[in-house]
Structure formats: C-alpha cells, structure tokens
C-alpha cells in the first residue's frame, strides 16, 4: 500500500510541477522563438540533473534514522507549504493555481523586450525558459529524491515520476487549451496532503516512534490532515473576508 501511495505522491507532484514549467517554456516559444525556448529548457533540465546527481548520494549516505528524519523534514516543508496554499485557495482566500496565468504572465514579461534579429541568440527568452524549468525542476528533484531515498527502495518514486513525465510531455504537444482544464488547485491540495502525510510518518520513524498499525498509520494521518484542513476551509468560507 505504501508503494501505491508513493507512486501517486511522486506522479502527481511531478505532473503539477512539469505542467507549470511547460507553461513557461510554451509561453517563451510562442511569444519569442522555439529554438531559444528549447535551449533554455534543456539548460534548466541539465542543471536539475546535476542537482539530482549531488542530492541522491548525499541523502543515501546518511545513517538510517538520520535519513528518515531528513526525508521527513524535507517532505514536511514542501507538503505543508502546498497544503497551506491549497487550504487558502480552496477557502477563496488566495487566487486559484493556474498555469494559464503563468503562461500569460510570461508572455507579458516580453512586452518591452525587442526580439533580436534572426540568427542571433535571444538571451532574454533563454534565461526565462531556463529559470522556469530550473525553479520547478528543483522542487521535482527534492521531492523525488526524498521519496526515492526511503529505505524500502527508489522504485515507486521513480516509477511515479517517470509516468508523470511521459504523460505531461506527451500532452505538452497541444497543451495550451487543456491547460485551463487541469484542476491544479485541487491537485496541489492533494499533493500537499500526501507529502505532509509521508513527512509526518518518516519524521516520526526518524525520531523512533512506533506507528500503530505500521504503514496503515499513513491512512489515519492523511485522514486527520484532510479533516483538519476541510474544517478550516469551511470555517474560512463562512467567515467574512477582511477588507
């Protein structure tokens, strides 16, 4: 069961981040030149690969309990941030997540930047594509590395990340229209619940907690998080928004 949950957590987290990165690259390609957009994206992927090569062995080299605590802490930091934003968005206190906004904002970034003549490098476009892929990619690397560094093995995290990568890249060919239909707010909220659940579980194991029921405790933790956040979302929806 932990296998399935890990695959799901890695797949959804990677898919959401890849969609955001792809929105930026598509915006650069559509408003500037595709060659420079791809150049920046490939450079961003290369930088992420270097980070992954450094982070993986660093995590695996830790002693078993320190490793669990490190994984738990990383997942808690990421998961709680996603859950915090997801709760605020679902309560109507923050703008809903949308890669369409990312797309439009990226296009607007180039409003005052003239396009260099054909044959010359468009560094503005390259930097924006590179930065977009790097920033979203770093999150992917940290989340997948943390899930993959679990003592039970890297397979479920890598499987989830691989499936998400293939699906999102395949969809990217004609992404602009479906982009607006992806329920990103709900997906991010779900990823927040999953990552925080794993974070609490592994941090607890790192601190030598005996979880009642073993891996089944993951369900209880997840349900408790959903219950607490839904309670707060309903409360916030009913209360007036401060001016």
């Amino acid at each position: 069961m932990t296998f399935v949950l890990t695959v799901a957590a890695a797949a959804i987290a990677v898919a959401v981040e890849l969609i955001e990165a792809m929105a930026i690259v598509l915006a650069v390609g559509a408003s500037r030149r595709w060659r420079d957009a791809v150049w920046g994206a490939v450079a961003g992927v290369a930088a992420c690969a270097v980070l992954a090569a450094a982070l993986g062995p660093l995590l695996v080299g830790l002693p078993r309990e320190a490793l669990k605590l490190a994984i738990g802490t990383l997942l808690l930091l990421y998961g709680l941030e996603w859950l915090r934003k997801g709760t605020l968005r679902l309560a109507g206190r923050k703008r809903r997540a949308s890669s369409v906004h990312e797309f439009e904002e990226t296009v607007e970034e180039f409003d005052d930047v003239p396009l260099p003549p054909e044959g010359e490098a468009d560094w503005a476009a390259r930097v924006v594509a590179f930065k977009g892929v790097l920033l979203e990619g770093v999150e992917v690397v940290v989340i997948v590395a943390a899930l993959a560094a679990r003592p039970t093995g890297a397979l479920p995290a890598l499987l989830g990340a691989g499936v998400a990568g293939v699906v999102v890249l395949a969809a990217g060919v004609r992404l602009r229209a479906p982009l607006g239909r992806v329920p990103e707010t709900e997906l991010k909220y779900g990823v927040g619940v999953l990552l925080t659940t794993f974070g609490i579980f592994f941090a607890g194991e790192g601190l030598r907690v005996d979880w009642p029921g073993g891996d089944l405790a993951l369900f209880a933790i997840g349900l408790a998080l959903v219950f607490a956040t839904q309670l707060q979302i309903h409360g916030l929806r009913r209360s007036p928004v401060p001016a």
Binding site: L69, T73, L76, L77, Y78, L80, E81, L83, R84, K85, T87, L88, A91, R93, K94, L135, V138, E139, V142, T196, G199, I200, A203, G204, L207, R208, V209, D210, W211, P212, A217, I221, A224, L225, A228, T229, Q232, L236, V241, P242
Partner: protein, 67 residues
C-alpha cells in the same frame, strides 16, 4: 540577494512561521524522546500529528490576516 531569496522560497516556502513551526516541533520531539523514551515511542506519533496540524492551521490563519 535575489538568488538567496529564491533559494529560501524554494526550500523554506513563502513564510517563516511554517519552517520555524516544523523546526520547533521536531526539536520538541527530540527533547520529549530524551525525557521518556518509552512514552515517546508509543505516543510520539500522535504528538507529531497534532503538532503539525497546529502549525498548519496557525499558518493558514496568519495567511488570512495578512491580506
């Protein structure tokens, strides 16, 4: 400074209260385990879960006031 700020946002998120809350909670866990290892082994999971919920609910509430 922009690079440092971006790195902080990437690792710690948009608020200070959340990472500080997580750090406080984990340090409290280490201290409680040192006080009573057996009790912590049995009840530590519940303490961690309750602590995370308190940190999360508090940070979300602070986010609604900050608008």
């Amino acid at each position: 400074m922009t690079v440092l700020r971006t790195l902080r946002l990437l690792v710690l998120g948009e608020t200070w209260t959340l990472p500080l809350g997580v750090a406080t909670l984990l340090l409290a866990g280490v201290a409680l385990r040192a006080l009573d290892t057996e009790l912590w082994r049995e009840a530590g999971g519940g303490v961690l879960l309750a602590g995370v919920v308190v940190v999360l609910v508090g940070t979300v509430a602070a986010g609604t006031r900050g608008r």
